[in-house]
């Protein structure tokens, strides 16, 4: 049974909007300097990758819910509601086209922390069920199986035995006070 819905996503976005977010959206003057700093834009030349544009659904929600003008516009039917399709479209923007590197936040002349807001909009988009497939898969496997790759304890123990046989290194499991700490990494 799933509870991922548009309403859930919108509700979480509403929670996420705080005073800094409101100040940031009030201050953006559409100067485009954030795009000059964003590698996703500079390497592709696609203006859609302008960092502040990646936040458009959340900005519209802020306007509609948290400003007097926006509330009035909503009352008289002049505002565009956030749609499920929109959140779906924006998923790529905030997950695949942003690494939260923060260059945009560093250059914004009015002092907007855009990557801070990208992190927030991800909360809403994932709650609405639009997180990227790969991330959903990895998260599900990590929680249900024990690792994002889906490796079970049995396979890990087998690998530990193989390592001990070939190198003599003992890999302790759940032992207190040991000297070495081993971590596994994917083997190609």
């Amino acid at each position: 049974m799933t509870t991922a819905t548009l309403e859930r996503g919108v509700q979480i976005l509403k929670e996420q909007i705080d005073a800094p977010t409101a100040a940031f959206f009030s201050s953006c003057v559409h100067c485009g300097m954030c795009a000059d700093a964003c590698l996703f834009y500079t390497e592709t030349g696609d203006p859609a990758y302008t960092p502040i544009n990646k936040l458009e659904p959340m900005r519209r929600l802020w306007e509609q819910e948290y400003t007097l003008v926006g509330r009035i516009k909503k009352l008289i039917g002049l505002s565009k509601p956030i749609t499920d399709e929109e959140l779906g479209e924006w998923s790529d923007m905030v997950y695949h086209a942003c690494s939260l590197c923060g260059r945009c936040s560093m250059v914004c002349p009015v002092g907007n922390d855009i990557s801070y807001m990208i992190r927030k909009i991800r909360e809403g988009i994932s709650a609405a069920g639009h997180a990227p497939e790969g991330l959903i898969g990895a998260t599900t496997r990590a929680v249900k199986i024990g690792s994002p790759m889906g490796i079970r304890l049995h396979a890990l123990q087998t690998q530990a035995r193989n390592i001990k046989e070939s190198s003599g290194l003992e890999i302790p499991f759940d032992q207190e006070g040991v000297d070495t700490w081993c971590c596994c990494r994917p083997w190609r």
């Binding site: 799933t2 991922a4 929670e15 069920g129």
Partner: protein, 365 residues
């Protein structure tokens, strides 16, 4: 009230030489921006003009206009021309009084029906006809009665032209201008508080020469005298342009003759001939004497925001508006802010933890 003599005859009798007369005509022509070729026409018209009958009605006024126009320090031709129109009715200058004066007026109106000039100074109170009466007749009634058969009306002074001082906030007498009452006669406004003497004689000369009133601006003023604003002809303009202003009366800037903008000069929006023609035969004018222009030839000049407040300041109390705005904004803002908090806390309360089972949409799982 002898109308047999022509204007030319009357002037010669008073010792005005032909040369002096022509010089006046040339001056009048140039003041009115008429070509030099018009001078003979003006001379001929004035020479042979029958002294026109002029009825001067004084309503809610201070007599300043009469003082200005009849002031002659030395016999000037303007003054003589003025003396040589047939001034058939004028409170200050007439010899008659009481019933005799009113009778003279009525006789002049009858004899010159359709041809006399009506000059008005002072505003007309509409609040109560009893506020200003002459011989028991209200200003309003007398104006309508005399205007009916006048050839044209000259509203002398800002009171007659636009309401002037009595019209100033809160206008307790309900004062209005001539043109707000008379709609069917040609009216020339000669505003100023008071107006410059030569302006009215120029208007008269034009009327006598051409039989009609001179070209007027959108406020009914003769363009020849009110076509430029004081600012554009002010000798202190270079200081304005450079940004050199007197800060107080008698400070260094004031003594150096710098611009009086900061001391409330309304020159930029005042149209009159003061800066060029000046007063008292070209002696001086207010700005030259060190005081900012009051804007006295403009409508509502008493309510233009204060004589000593700069033109860029508001005519109303801005700080009060700002204070009220901040208070009202604080209240409205607090209300809107509280709405925001409530909406947000509702969203927080409704929060359900997103588990790994909630990441997929129904149709995808």
């Amino acid at each position: 009230m002898n109308n047999d003599k022509t204007l030319g005859e009357a002037l010669r009798e008073q010792g005005v030489s032909r040369r002096g007369f022509l010089k006046f005509c040339a001056t009048t022509a140039s003041l009115m921006a008429l070509p030099a070729s018009m001078v003979p026409a003006i001379a001929k018209a004035l020479e042979s003009a029958r002294r026109p009958s002029v009825i001067w009605l004084s309503f809610q006024e201070c007599t300043g206009c009469t003082e200005s126009l009849t002031r002659s320090h030395a016999p000037t031709v303007e003054g003589l021309i003025f003396d040589n129109i047939s001034l058939d009715y004028h409170h200050t200058l007439q010899a008659a009084a009481g019933h005799a004066a009113e009778a003279a007026r009525e006789a002049a109106m009858e004899e010159n029906k359709g041809k006399y000039l009506l000059v008005v100074d002072g505003s007309i109170p509409l609040g109560n006809p009893g506020y200003s009466t002459i011989a028991g007749i209200s200003n309003l009634e007398m104006l309508k009665e005399v205007a009916e058969h006048a050839a044209a009306i000259i509203a002398v002074g800002t009171c007659a032209a636009y309401g002037g001082l009595p019209h100033a906030n809160p206008n307790p007498t309900g004062a209005v201008s001539v043109e707000e009452i008379i709609k069917d006669k040609p009216i020339v406004n000669v505003p100023g508080c008071p107006p410059i003497p030569v302006v009215i004689t120029g208007v008269l000369a034009h009327f006598l020469t051409f039989g009609k009133l001179p070209e007027l601006d959108h406020l009914g003023r003769p363009l020849a005298f009110y076509g430029n604003n004081i600012h554009d002809r002010c000798y202190r303009r270079p200081f304005y342009d450079k940004g050199l202003f007197a800060n107080t009366f008698d400070d260094e800037g004031a003594r150096k003759g710098w611009c009086l903008f900061k001391l409330g000069c309304k020159g930029p929006v005042t149209y009159n001939a003061c800066a060029t023609t000046k007063w008292n035969d070209g002696t001086s004018f207010p700005i030259e004497a060190g005081h900012g222009c009051l804007g006295c030839s403009e409508p509502n000049f008493w309510d233009m925001g204060g004589f000593y407040n700069a033109l860029s300041e508001s005519t109303m109390d801005l700080s009060r508006t700002a204070a009220v705005g901040i208070a009202a904004g604080a209240v409205a803002g607090a209300a809107s802010g509280l709405l925001n908090r409530r909406k947000k806390s509702q969203a927080v309360t409704a929060h359900e933890t997103v588990t790994v089972n909630d990441l997929q949409r129904e149709e995808k799982s």
